[in-house]
Amino acid sequence: MQSTERIASYKAGDELVVIKKELTQAKINKYAEASGDGNPLHTDPVFAAATQFGGTIAHGMLVLAYISELMTAAFGDRWLVHGRLKVRFRGAARPGDSVTASGRVASIGAAENESDGLRPVVCEVECRNQNGEVLISGEASLRVP
């Protein structure tokens, strides 16, 4: 978890420490089991071959969790308590993909303008695969002391 001092030191333009994940069919299967999402698009290669994707793909929420992990690493509990994500799913992540979640602090507001005395932080975030294709992009926002 990040200290209050570390969080307070962030400024606009700062890059967040990237998270890299190797996506496997086993991970996708485990996520399907845990989430209860039984859509065979994610777990059955024969079924998935007949879809517009031509093969199994990861659950969007599984890939989105990598962004949440990125934000948790950067902002700790602040993200878990105050975090909000607004993203667009732009491409499918497949087994075998190497997914990189990255982010940048886009803006930090002033605490004196806020009724709760916390500073609003907005980060631009995204996930890309090993080919540089954007899988998810959007904004993550939270409030910090």
Partner: protein, 137 residues
């Protein structure tokens, strides 16, 4: 005459029962996979951006009828957009599919029924979701 009415009533009941017991198409039906693909991506974007995330997946008929803002205002009156738990059932009649979804919400799982329309290129698009029927020009 009474017999004829009774027979007609029984036939109607039987037809109603047959329709309401519709088990939907099997996952092995070749029409199922493209629908499952559309639902997975459309629901992800719906969960993340609400009705605005769903709008790119609606039919041309809907986009002619409602702007993105009108669609969002109509659908936005429903409970929060949520990630997919499972596809409960897919029924197809002609070029229209009725999909029963279980969505994950903060208050527990919520069931919703979406209508899809088959496009000329054999892909599918969203024709109606709860709330969207109130979006009229």
């Amino acid at each position: 005459l009474r017999l004829a009415f009774t027979a007609a009533a029984l036939l109607s009941l039987a037809l109603f029962a047959a329709c309401s017991d519709d088990p939907g198409i099997a996952q092995t039906d070749p029409r199922y996979p493209p629908i499952a693909g559309l639902i997975a991506t459309a629901v992800d974007n719906y969960a993340s951006r609400g009705p605005y995330g769903l709008y790119p997946y609606v039919t041309g008929e809907v986009t002619v009828k409602c702007t993105e803002e009108e669609f969002a205002a109509a659908v936005g009156r429903r409970p929060d957009a949520a990630p997919l738990r499972s596809i409960e059932k897919v029924s197809i009649r002609g070029d229209e599919a009725t999909v029963t979804l279980n969505l994950i919400t903060a208050a527990g799982d919520d069931q919703a029924v979406w209508k899809l329309e088959r496009l000329p290129n054999a892909s599918w698009a969203v024709l109606e979701v709860p709330g969207s029927e109130s979006c009229t020009p």
